[in-house]
Symmetry: C2
Subunit: 437 residues, 2 copies
């Protein structure tokens, strides 16, 4: 995807809050969500972020302000979610982005039409940006796979398939939400002694997982694979995902068919999807380190090596009941970068469909926990606390091995480079409530 | 669920084909599907089977023939699928069943209204009975788990969690269909020698899996578990499922997170859902054999022990290009019975939601391969051919270890007992097409 006029770093918006250095949403970003006014009983509708505001695309649609493909894309915003727009494909997304960029620039004549349709983000509530049909979670951080593998299988941390297969599994779509406040899950845990009955009760090793979400735009027909070369044309954009994990439930249940109740009680995402086009200035080469095997041909291309990765910086923050009571700032638990992953976006799409599996507009892929190479780049408490053996200390004096009731995890992501406005992802926020006994 | 007038074995229908000994669909059955006339471009709509015919519930709805709760349930058949009806809950399903039973009996005055709305099953085409939001596959046959475990992990066939946890994992909803004709999947397979690159190409060990499907009716709110006592009130009914499996892809990819591309290229179901109410005469006690552990309290109740299982007899049939060319009858590969499973329907619902996971109307659970205790009761070729070591012989002279292109698998299920009409499930049919290279 080449850069175009929407990527001009000099562009300013007539929405003043979009021109400040601290905004996640300058006019070069234009991410999409599904929202409504907080407390409203109205249907959710698509919106695009600009500074502190949201352009109500459902309302703008009624004004039929855009022609051609952009107008067609705007008509797709009659949906409650982004699925209809997603299904139109990358030319339509790009046309709508260009029309919105022009309409939101300083001096744009359409300001007269759009300004009355702005909703302050502070007055909005969000649902998932898409109706998520299927959710697949991958496992693309070698650093995470090695660290976790060491704890579950000390003798065999990294399985022989890892460097060849982008390991993934199906997750639960129904329990994905934004700004979740969920009860600590109950479940079976490993027996105290072999041969005993398992324990049963509230999870004792509740964890978060720092991930990005990848939203499928146009899907593929069942039986037709998506080749690596066109894989990114099927991706609408990226968001943030916290794949909460009950480690003790997982350890007992996960063999031989993978995690189930350890994951499907809740998965929290950010409301905003940043389009691949907005991320184009932050592409980076995707390289295998010396000594690592090169991928099989269906997962390899020169274009993918040249620019298949994205430089997205992420951070995990935490608050607790105690920290909020004393109004302490959130503690940063770790930072990490998407470019350090062992597989990239296009490879995940190509792999997922190589057997003919059909993706559909609005499907969500998770990257898996994006731990980086450094100790401070671990994307879960399981890694940070070394499986609970080394409690982490929070700035206000509390310690944690795993999550306690009332703990809140905030994940942020952003793209930063000199001379270009910061492209932010908003945030992914979830809070642990006590178990319901 | 107690028996009522709809279960009277003496009932006859004014639809003559419903009164023959060989029909799957006597008036005591009344299963639901989503159908339209073959070749039509009309929307699919709900229907109920009677003998060789289908009552078009979408059309019957317009005639507003039923009062009260049955009338409300009929209004829910304005949907293209059964989801709206499913969400109404068991009282509504039961009221509609009773009204349909009365309207289809010999001498019913409503014959005048309904007879013009009948569609011959031979003239119909089907889609999935529900929009399936999430698909979970379980693993509830101890016999299958042991036999397969022996091949994947000879030293450790049955893992220590098996007798405590109803093992399940998430499957792919998008690739579920009826009467599928799917291309042999491509994928990575284990390297010839350790350390080599994996092989890549069409699956060489393609298999079927004999399963039943369990359709969720009313769901639960996220965070609220469904207790065992009320679990069956959330189940609309059962169908047949063939969970096609690429064994060589599975063997290489499945650790540590479970099967993925080995399963998600296609999963074929029968069009008809037989309601739990129709199955009430075929309930049987659910008993653990002597020496087996009793389930944890959240999976145990006296009512569940007394009548938690269902006596459903299943059979797997096969045709090949050669057998069809010579018009040979299908070969029966195995027979098995649902009552031999290690866990039952109510337990799967209670387990799935014990952590707060929300089920939704139209969600589908698979039982996992329902192999019985005997060698002729194996529900997959992996078991029947002992992992490919012992080819099975087909009556027309061909041999099989795994599926070849053109092979067709037909699964049937039925409930039979003396003095009661046979309750059939129709059939689940799928055919293997050559790989698309």
């Amino acid at each position: 995807m080449t850069l175009n006029e929407t990527h001009d770093p000099a562009l300013k918006s007539w929405v003043a809050s979009a021109n400040t250095a601290d905004t996640d949403f300058p006019i070069q970003n234009l991410p999409f969500a599904s929202f409504r006014r907080r407390g409203s009983q109205a249907a959710f509708r698509p919106g695009v972020a600009i500074g502190h505001h949201i352009v109500d695309l459902g309302a703008l649609r009624e004004a039929t302000v855009f022609d051609g493909l952009a107008g067609e894309a705007l008509q797709a915003c009659a949906d409650t979610h982004l699925n209809t727009l997603m299904a139109l494909g990358p030319q339509a997304w790009s046309a709508l982005r260009l029309a919105l960029s022009r309409a939101l620039r300083e001096g744009a004549a359409l300001r007269r039409v759009i300004e009355p349709l702005l909703v302050a983000q502070a007055d909005a509530e969000f649902t998932t940006p898409a109706r998520i049909g299927d959710y697949t979670d991958f496992y693309i951080s070698l650093h995470h796979a090695t660290a976790v593998g060491r704890q579950f299988r000390p003798d065999n941390p990294l399985l022989p398939n890892y460097k060849w297969v982008p390991i993934g599994y199906h997750g639960r779509a129904s329990s994905i939400g934004v700004e979740q406040h969920f009860a600590r899950p109950l479940g079976q845990q490993r027996p105290a002694a072999e041969g005993d009955a398992p324990e049963f009760g509230p999870c004792k090793r509740l964890d978060y997982e720092l991930e990005l979400s990848i939203f499928v735009g146009q899907g593929n027909a069942q039986g037709e694979r998506i080749p690596l070369e066109s894989a990114e044309q099927h991706v609408f954009g990226l968001g943030i995902l916290n794949d909460w994990s009950a480690r003790d439930i997982q350890a007992w249940e996960y063999q031989p068919l993978g995690p189930f109740l350890a994951k499907n009680f809740a998965s929290t995402i950010s409301p905003w999807i940043v389009t691949l086009e907005a991320l184009a200035p932050f592409r980076t080469p995707w390289l295998r380190a010396a000594g690592e095997p090169q991928p099989l041909p269906y997962l390899a291309s020169q274009a993918n090596r040249d620019a298949g990765a994205f430089d997205v910086q992420m951070e995990v923050l935490m608050t607790t009941e105690a920290s909020r009571a004393r109004q302490a700032p959130p503690a940063r638990l770790s930072r990490s970068n998407f470019r350090d992953a062992y597989w990239n976006v296009a490879q995940l799409i190509a792999h997922h469909t190589v057997n003919g599996c059909n993706l559909q507009a609005g499907d969500m892929l998770g990257t898996g926990t994006l731990s980086g190479p450094g100790a401070s780049e671990a994307g879960s408490l399981l890694e940070l606390s070394q499986g609970g053996k080394a409690p982490i200390e929070l700035p206000w004096g509390e310690k944690r091995t795993f999550l306690e009731d009332g703990d809140q995890i905030i994940i942020r992501a952003e793209c930063v480079k000199p001379g270009y406005p910061r492209i932010g992802f908003g945030q992914c926020v979830g809070t642990v409530a006590p178990a319901r006994l």
